[in-house]
Symmetry: C2
Subunit: 467 residues, 2 copies
Amino acid sequence: MAILTPRGEDFPRWYQDVLAKAELADNGPVRGTMVIRPYGYAIWERMQADVDARIKAAGAVNAYFPLLIPESYLRREAQHVEGFSPELAVVTHGGGKELEEPVVVRPTSETVIGEYMAKWTQSYRDLPLLLNQWANVVRWELRPRLFLRTSEFLWQEGHTAHVDEADAAAYARRIHLEVYLDFMTSVLAIPVFIGRKTAKERFAGATNTLTLEAMMGDGKALQMATSHELGQNFARAFDIGFLGADRAQHLAWTTSWGSSTRMVGGLIMAHGDDNGLRIPPRLAPTQVLVLPVKDDPALTERVSLLADGLRAAGLRCGVDARPGLSFGRRVTDAELKGIPVRVELGPRDLAAGAVTLARRDTSEKIVVPLDDVMTRVPTLLDEIQNAMYEAALATRDARTRDVTTVDEAIEAASEGFARLPWAAVGPGGETRLAQESLTVRCIQRPDGTIPDRDDEPDLVCLVARSY
Amino acid sequence: MAILTPRGEDFPRWYQDVLAKAELADNGPVRGTMVIRPYGYAIWERMQADVDARIKAAGAVNAYFPLLIPESYLRREAQHVEGFSPELAVVTHGGGKELEEPVVVRPTSETVIGEYMAKWTQSYRDLPLLLNQWANVVRWELRPRLFLRTSEFLWQEGHTAHVDEADAAAYARRIHLEVYLDFMTSVLAIPVFIGRKTAKERFAGATNTLTLEAMMGDGKALQMATSHELGQNFARAFDIGFLGADRAQHLAWTTSWGSSTRMVGGLIMAHGDDNGLRIPPRLAPTQVLVLPVKDDPALTERVSLLADGLRAAGLRCGVDARPGLSFGRRVTDAELKGIPVRVELGPRDLAAGAVTLARRDTSEKIVVPLDDVMTRVPTLLDEIQNAMYEAALATRDARTRDVTTVDEAIEAASEGFARLPWAAVGPGGETRLAQESLTVRCIQRPDGTIPDRDDEPDLVCLVARSY
């Protein structure tokens, strides 16, 4: 009896089943909100810690801006309020009475951060100003899906101000490559297509939006993070000016960039299989789980020693010796939770001086001498990290078809991604794709790198259905 | 010209000056809200990381519950809604239209966590359930003070459910001592009085509230964190029940405990002096700052080498060689920010093969051979950590007077804390103290430990004005 709906039978239902059975998240009491359960939150915490360290290494500093924003702030950037107003949660009462001016729960902190950037930026010496914030934001969601689209989500939003366009563009690209791209590939083990969004798909108010697009298990695309160049649009609306080295007053050039709990959804859908989650070792809250095959004092003692040794070696190691739960049930649970390696120990193993290492990614089992566990497990985790990336890349490439026309792209995108010359699409092609619920996910150079402009020669684009 | 209002002249104004000049926080655009600037947030991040590690070591796991809560949830626990309703921020519009049922922005997540605890708790095997959450909460504040009382603040709230009263009480006490008390004393270097709150001062719905009370620079008390035993009151309201080992249905016993960004205010007011912040080394985002006395390539090179060496030794080390800022101005800034040790290097030092180590806590300057810096600075940081605690303890003890009557306590509390027999106060005495804007901060045993009950013999209590 399958615990999960098979992916091939009903992918959305499989996703719901994984969320429930692996105890990742629950629906909140207010429609569209989400309770992130301890195991789901442990995954998010590990993503957050890694992304945070990368952001700091790129020179940005964390700050915290208020949840509640005067409604008038959002009106300052016309394109901004247009983009957000149907999504706003509005607070009309506070402190027991009606407020004189309603305040909104931030859908992003962009406007309030802009206000303070203007205050803190006097001279070119204050630039670049590189800020980041970890926070919750609220955007009312009528068709919620846990982790992917929820009325409240957790994210980081970076906001930076620079003396000129080149510095702003270089920083947005640096964040995109050193923080997001490297995190996705080397930690999440998820291959992503990088590139520019089309003018139609750009963030409201941005002059350029960089994206990372991953393929999910059903062939659809998920935008994993985005980085925006905002030109001087935002600085103009919020009056972020500075006295230049030339003693003249200038407007700053700004960027913004973000990633969110949506990455947890991406992790589930990119790597999950019919037995549950598969978490790459560098991310996994528990990398190794030691399981005694049955309840037996000799096994229990050996299991503790093994776990202590693995922890001392710096691995995140757990033990599942829960009484009253069969070995099979505990294995099923470890598989649901996607723990990369199980160390299984039974009485016969103990007699033979051996243990069984079970890989979650391939289901392979390897019997090794007890004495070799401490050296074998760390290398196995590295092997799994690489194998998961390679497997995801092979799957994605097998489902990405090179085509030459919009019609062919529409056909190919029923099963995955279509790649075709950007010149063959253009704004007209985008309208045609939209009728089929398809979008251009990104424009890139033929070698997969990010172009500087949309009109470079020989650009290609990726077309897909998306979350 | 003093940069800050002297503490002795106007303490509240000194506090505001420190917040502004050390770039810790700003008022937010909505009254009562706060912008936590990068340096203030770096302090909070270090508090958070340390407290989080302690909470995890005590066995609790992090989760995340929604910001928006149905109004009806708060009505479920009568004492709860009474305590919070004048403080609520109410969302009446979402997604572009009026909501059928208004939702509130969480003033605490207690009710929604209770709801899910009930769902997740079936059997005694599911207990204890030990949850913690890091989040923002909103309580409308009419007389805001940054970090101390703001309409939005950041905190951690722990919520646990247990099979019996003894286990709940033991866990609340464990958190209070191992997480809060040890963090305050060994990291913040702030001595605290621990004990029970009186029935009058207890958290609404709690059967017992444990507190930690610190003395600020003006002699007033600040409650640094609290831990509550909630008996079965909360479990009854939210139906947190379980099937016992005896096959009968039981109600759980719950606890809750929290600490917040208010600790940043406590840090400022407990350690700050007329030159600014003083941050204990174990907490400080920057422990050591290396400063060249003037702009000179030979100095700059040596300063970089020193800083690299100190960082390689695991210290959090910065360099301030900003051009266009005098040495004096850079020293003033380091003092404002409370950086524990400055390593100052001038041309004469360099010629003599020496550097000057300047302590922030005592203003002492120590000239040491350049070769000794790497060994001397780490031990100096340890000395400062201990000295700051001892100095704060001596100040507090000098301002804590033992008295025997409520009248004497009223007099003594004009300058600090009064300690007197709890039997001399009682509920009648509490009313009398309230008329003088004084409260019993905590009840403790004569040896300073936490009593099990309010009616133990020989208990004493601490009386003070408070934030």
